[in-house]
């Protein structure tokens, strides 16, 4: 995939359905990073993401003629990818969630830079993996990928109310974490302390040595 195929998505998909052997790969290649991001964040694991993407793309490749054109091609692709991720996670359910390695001293949270983007992204990705699969899928689609509630409901094939409540549950779990990250020296059960100590220590007062 070195040369971008100039044809629009719908045209590429139609070409694929009528036997163009490279159209589908061109289509997927164009959206590969976004599909990867969704798969990676929905599954929380690069291996699972790659496996799920392969399942999904082969399915999409075979069932392309079922695409009706009433949705965007990307929505259709994302739907297949998200469902493949959820399927794969359900099948792997017996496997315990593998927590990410603890934040070690090589990557300290910088209290002086509580909004450091890399750190924050790292922590959020880590926190995402602690969410139940269904909640994570809803949150990733709506808050990370920017789909509307309606679109996410369509993608996940569940009622909008369910999408909202899953997303809300997920946000409720993440907010305390984000709060903690942004204000590391101020554990939430301690009344607001004086700013001096907050900035002089390099770890939360309550943290273990």
């Amino acid at each position: 995939m070195t040369v971008e195929d100039p044809r629009p998505d719908a045209e590429l998909l139609a070409a694929h359905v009528s036997g163009d052997p490279t159209a589908f790969t061109s289509l997927v290649g164009r959206h590969r990073d976004r599909l990867w991001a969704v798969a990676l964040r929905t599954t929380g694991d690069p291996e699972d993401a790659a496996d799920a993407l392969q399942d999904a793309l082969l399915k999409a490749h075979r069932s392309a003629d079922s695409f009706r054109g009433d949705a965007q091609v990307t929505t259709w692709l994302h739907r297949i990818v998200v469902n493949a991720c959820l399927d794969r996670m359900r099948r792997a359910k017996s496997r315990p969630t593998v927590p990410l390695p603890e934040h070690d001293s090589a990557h300290p949270i910088e209290p002086s830079d509580p909004l450091g983007r890399r750190e924050l992204a790292w922590e959020i990705d880590r926190a995402l993996r602690t969410l139940p699969d269904d909640q994570r899928a809803a949150l990733v689609l709506i808050d990370v990928e920017g789909y509307s509630v309606e679109e996410a409901a369509q993608l996940l094939d569940i009622p909008t109310g369910t999408v909202k409540s899953r997303c809300a549950r997920a946000r409720a779990k993440l907010v305390p974490l984000l709060d903690h990250l942004r204000n590391p020296p101020e554990p939430d059960d301690v009344p607001v302390s004086d700013e001096r100590s907050a900035h002089l220590t390099d770890r939360p007062p309550g943290a273990q040595p």
Binding site: M1, H16, V17, S18, G19, D20, P21, F24, T25, V28, G29, R32, D33, R34, L35, W36, A37, L40, R41, P46, A49, A50, L53, Q54, L57, L58, H61, R62, A64, D65, R117, L120, A121, I124, D125, L139, D143, V144, G146, G161, K164, S165, C167, A168, R169, R171, A172, K173, L174, V175, P176, L178, D179, R182, D188
Partner: protein
């Protein structure tokens, strides 16, 4: 984040993150929402917690975009390339390339010709009758060609009958094309039997392929340009690729695959109803794996 849980009495208890999340999503009923809103007007802690939600949503939206690692893309495109082109009938049963590659090493019995010393060599004996049926004089056999051929590398080689039909092989039609190819062989009768034995001074591929480098009409009727393959390279490539054990191919043909010269090698499958089809770069000239495509088709 308070541990208290009573949105109905917001004045007495702090709001939980769950309640605030539901409030933000519009999931609370009117009464609960009103109580929560009222509590928020005079509880700074809860208001501060509520304000974390937009911050969270912003942080999620700003997560750096992920780039698909190149190796993942390679894997996915190989899997897609191994899929048959969409057709209403859907003919070929396809094994992903990865599986095909594994199979090539692990399955005993895959291979072209094994010499007595364990050296597998391929002598490509062109049998033009596939494209020129009826012209009996053009039928070559291992021994015919050997008689007139030079053997510049002087390697005693086992020979195998191959055709150079120039057929444009395609995923969608592979099933029928392979059937046609395999069935074409008996029609040229015993002459195309596999000639093996390291003592046979078989034709050099260069002789035999050179003999048919004029444009030919394929079994499917397409004119194809002369092959520009170096037969010696083709031989080394295919032998090297398929390794040694001695299962006899059902057919070998030189044609094209997606516009490129390709060697089509049909090997028996464990299931007699099926055949394994390897589509290879006949020269191994490309930078990557010479296997273009692999499929198991019905016979």
């Amino acid at each position: 984040m308070s541990q208290h849980h009573d949105p109905v009495h917001p004045d007495s208890d702090h709001l939980t993150a769950e309640v605030l999340a539901d409030l933000g999503m519009g999931l609370l009923d009117e009464t609960s929402a009103a109580h929560a809103e009222h509590h928020l007007t005079h509880c700074a802690d809860c208001a501060a917690l509520r304000d974390q939600f937009p911050a969270l949503v912003d942080a999620l939206a700003e997560l750096p975009s992920e780039q698909m690692p190149e190796q993942v893309w390679q894997r996915l495109s190989a899997a897609l390339a191994a899929e048959p082109v969409v057709t209403p009938e859907g003919s070929a049963t396809v094994v992903p390339l990865e599986a095909a590659r594994k199979r090539r090493w692990t399955r005993p019995g895959i291979g072209l010709v094994a010499g007595a010393a364990g050296v597998a060599l391929l002598g490509a004996i062109v049998v033009p009758s596939v494209m020129n049926s009826g012209n009996d004089s053009s039928v070559g056999t291992a021994s015919d060609t050997a008689a007139s051929g030079r053997a510049p590398n002087q390697v005693p080689m086992a020979a195998y009958a191959a055709t150079q039909s120039g057929t444009k092989y395609q995923e969608a039609a592979l099933d029928s094309q392979v059937t046609q190819l395999v069935e074409a062989r008996p029609r040229v009768n015993g002459d195309t039997e596999l000639v093996t034995g390291s003592g046979t001074p078989a034709a050099t591929p260069s002789e035999s392929i050179r003999a048919t480098t004029e444009p030919t009409e394929s079994a499917t009727g397409q004119k194809v340009a002369p092959m520009a393959t170096d037969p010696a390279a083709a031989q080394a490539c295919l032998v090297g690729y398929l390794q040694a054990p001695d299962v006899q191919p059902l057919a070998i043909d030189i044609g094209t695959w997606r516009g490129e010269p390709a060697a089509i090698i049909v090997l028996p499958n464990a299931d007699p109803e099926l055949a394994d089809v390897f589509v290879l770069d006949p020269t191994c000239a490309g930078p990557g794996d010479p296997l273009f495509y692999f499929a198991t088709v019905s016979r």
